[in-house]
């Protein structure tokens, strides 16, 4: 046995991974069973796996997290605009519904179903957006809304913020113009100087202050707020996915004018000229 050549580490590693079969496998098995040296190499191979398994995981750096979250938020804004534009405003560019007669072949059917599913999903979204819009009214209660207005929105969900979010079919003629004179959320101007390092904390503090002020003195809180410009409203609804934001604050970020927009679990910082087509997301953070 001592005269036998030892298999190299790669052969032993392959044997351990179950890759050596047939005669080669039997030879390796017989050798390893009686060879201390090769048994030791086997232990060392196990130690390599063990060392790899026990190297502590690197945590994702905050800067990378923020960067990717911002990139995704901006991608979400772009894609929802494209979807809404094609659904709501520009039927000519809507997702193509094939006009050819259906074949029964399974492959062909799969391909044809996709755009149809996309269309109905987008339509469901629009209906959902209308519902969210109404929730927004009920919650804020400060806009010139009424039950009849709400009723008409229910019967006509496509008149909801979907159009507003697409930045279309919406008169841009003054601060009260958003949503045709109805306000789903208000813009505060806290003057907070948000900083990159403390963004999430500052947003949470601002939310707490806003909520306290609305509770203690609702009329004063409402007076200190204003309705968003249409472009800003469209921008905000894009970022939030048509959800009513918990905060839209005109402020500064890193010393420059910016809007800070928050939903319960996330906040974005956008430039002052944020629009639906160009959200200009400067930063984003989880809350």
């Amino acid at each position: 046995m001592s005269a036998q050549r030892h298999p190299d580490a790669t052969a032993l590693a392959e044997y351990r991974a179950g890759l050596a079969d047939g005669q080669r496998g039997r030879r390796l098995a017989a050798h390893v069973a009686t060879c201390d040296r090769c048994a030791q190499v086997g232990d060392q191979l196990a130690a390599v796996s063990s060392a790899l398994a026990s190297a502590p995981a690197p945590a994702m750096p905050d800067a990378v997290e923020r960067r990717i979250a911002a990139a995704l938020a901006s991608e979400a804004a772009r894609s929802s605009e494209a979807a809404l534009a094609s659904e709501a405003g520009q039927p000519g560019e809507a997702a193509p519904i094939p006009s050819r007669p259906r074949r029964t072949g399974p492959a062909g059917r799969v391909h044809r179903l996709r755009p149809l599913v996309a269309v109905s999903a987008a339509a469901a979204c629009l209906v959902l957006a209308g519902a969210v819009y109404l929730v927004g009214f009920a919650h804020f209660g400060t806009g010139p809304t009424s039950s009849s207005a709400a009723g008409s929105s229910v019967s006509s969900p496509f008149a909801g913020p979907a159009h507003a979010a697409a930045g279309q079919a919406l008169p841009v003629n003054g601060p009260q113009a958003a949503f045709g004179g109805q306000v789903a959320f208000l813009v505060t101007a806290s003057g907070t100087r948000y900083e990159q390092a403390t963004l999430a904390e500052q947003v949470r503090a601002e939310l707490a202050a806003k909520s306290a002020s609305e509770r203690l003195n609702p009329s004063k809180a409402a007076a200190a707020s204003s309705a968003p410009q249409a472009a800003l409203a469209a921008c905000v609804l894009h970022l939030t996915g048509n959800a009513v934001p918990t905060l839209v604050d005109r402020a500064t970020y890193q010393g420059k004018p910016a809007y800070v927009i928050a939903v319960p679990d996330r906040a974005w910082v956008v430039g002052p000229d944020c629009t639906a087509s160009n959200p200009d997301v400067i930063a984003s953070t989880g809350l």
């Binding site: 191979l45 790899l52 026990s54 990378v64």
Partner: protein, 223 residues
């Protein structure tokens, strides 16, 4: 994962249906694992960040084409690994040569979450990070997924779009190649911190450690 939270597949469906927040949630849920894959495959924090961002944007756009014939996590990992390998192909010089500059490794260690691992665990990581650079990228990707992240061979085969035999072969060759660098280390079983986010992955998506493994080394038994 909490019972009330949507599954990965549900989040992806919501995303495809136009929910602007769904994909961000999916990213947050798996970001640490995906980061570990990108970082270990590229061996470079900058490249890893670029690769992961590319991958997430790409996944965001490809989501409509996701057929559900693999787990969402498998699909996400596949996109991240491919983006990482792509970046290495574009910049081959950086993938294989390591100057031995400790500061380069420092940046990998600097961002540890609170508490942090023991000094011994950090030593292990420094050794491991340096050693991984020795490997060809394909072997490294396989070994990172199987030995470091503990995914089953079948899962890794799906991620890498190769056969299970190829995964095993790449891992075996990689282990043999790392022998001179790592065999002196004894795994510190107390420092098994490399399965980030395990508590946020649903059971059917969370692979167990693979079968051809070895008994754990006793704690503190190393030298």
């Amino acid at each position: 994962m909490d019972a009330g939270e949507p599954s990965d597949a549900e989040l992806l469906r919501l995303h495809v249906a136009g929910d602007a927040a769904a994909f961000g949630l999916l990213f947050q849920r798996h970001r640490d694992r995906l980061w570990a894959v990108a970082l270990r495959t590229t061996c470079d924090p900058e490249e890893a960040a670029d690769a992961l961002q590319e991958a997430m944007i790409s996944a965001f756009r490809q989501a409509k084409g996701f057929r559900g014939d693999s787990a969402v996590t498998t699909w996400l990992h596949r996109i991240v690994v491919n983006a990482s390998l792509d970046r290495l192909r574009r910049r081959p010089a950086r993938s294989v040569s390591w100057s031995g500059d400790p500061e380069a490794l420092e940046s990998l260690v600097a961002h540890d979450s609170g508490g942090g691992p023991s000094a011994a665990a950090i030593d292990t990581r420094l050794d491991v990070d340096a050693a991984l650079r020795v490997l060809p990228a394909q072997q490294r990707a396989a070994l990172v997924l199987v030995d470091m992240l503990g995914y089953p061979v079948a899962e890794v085969a799906a991620i890498l779009s190769v056969s299970e035999g190829t995964v095993k072969s790449r891992c075996a060759r990689g282990r043999a190649r790392l022998l001179p660098y790592l065999a002196h280390l004894r795994g510190d079983s107390a420092a098994r911190g490399n399965q980030p986010g395990a508590d946020t992955v649903s059971p059917e998506q969370l692979p167990s450690r693979m079968g051809d493994s070895h008994p754990p080394f006793p704690r503190g038994g190393g030298g």
